[in-house]
Amino acid sequence: EPEVTQTPSHQVTQMGQEVILRCVPISNHLYFYWYRQILGQKVEFLVSFYNNEISEKSEIFDDQFSVERPDGSNFTLKIRSTKLEDSAMYFCASTLGLVTDTQYFGPGTRLTVL
């Protein structure tokens, strides 16, 4: 069964550093999402992406965040200057088309900011 993959599984960085989290969505999917889950808290929506542009973003997704689909397979989330409170599990998801389609989630990247 096709799956969404994410790399790395765990990223440790110093406060103020830039990080790039990578995701490979399912190959024929068209909609892509990033979520985060701070330890012990709910999964929070960050951004949705379609047709090479952001469809929707939450208030969490400020100027420090950006997303890109640099080629036909990768979907990246960049945090320009990490803060301690960015420490969380970050999930990528993709879906074929409409919301009625199933969102497939990756296993997540655990980001630790020191």
């Binding site: 709910k42 929506f45 929707e56 999930f91 998801a93 497939y104 989630f105 296993p107």
Partner: protein, 113 residues
């Protein structure tokens, strides 16, 4: 905007016993509702979803959920749980654009042998 409340953070249950995980939502518009399961060190996997039609929705692994519009609830049930059902369960809501999903805080289900 929508929001989701999962009333129970932890639910222990004996193997082969029934279980209900509660979910309530709030929204000013019509919504789609979802239940996801997260096994340790894995991503979220869709259990079932309510889009329209019958209010009783059946999903994978023997789970089902009932949409109750008047009570704004979407509780998840299983008549007989198995050890392998031990996981974190998340309820989620989306408006009909699907551009944003709102998740609850999750319920940790522990099945006791």
């Amino acid at each position: 905007a929508q929001s989701v409340t999962q009333l129970d953070s932890q639910v222990p249950v004996f193997e082969e016993a029934p279980v209900e995980l509660r979910c309530n939502y709030s929204s000013s518009v019509s919504v789609y509702l979802f239940w996801y399961v997260q096994y340790p060190n894995q991503g979220l996997q869709l259990l079932l979803k309510y889009l329209s039609g019958s209010t009783l929705v059946k999903g994978i692994n023997g789970f089902e959920a009932e949409f109750n519009k008047s009570q704004t609830s979407f509780h998840l049930r299983k008549p007989s749980v198995h050890i392998s059902d031990t996981a974190e369960y998340f309820c989620a809501v989306s408006d009909h654009t699907g551009n944003q999903f709102y998740f609850g805080t999750g319920t940790s289900l522990t099945v006791i042998p």
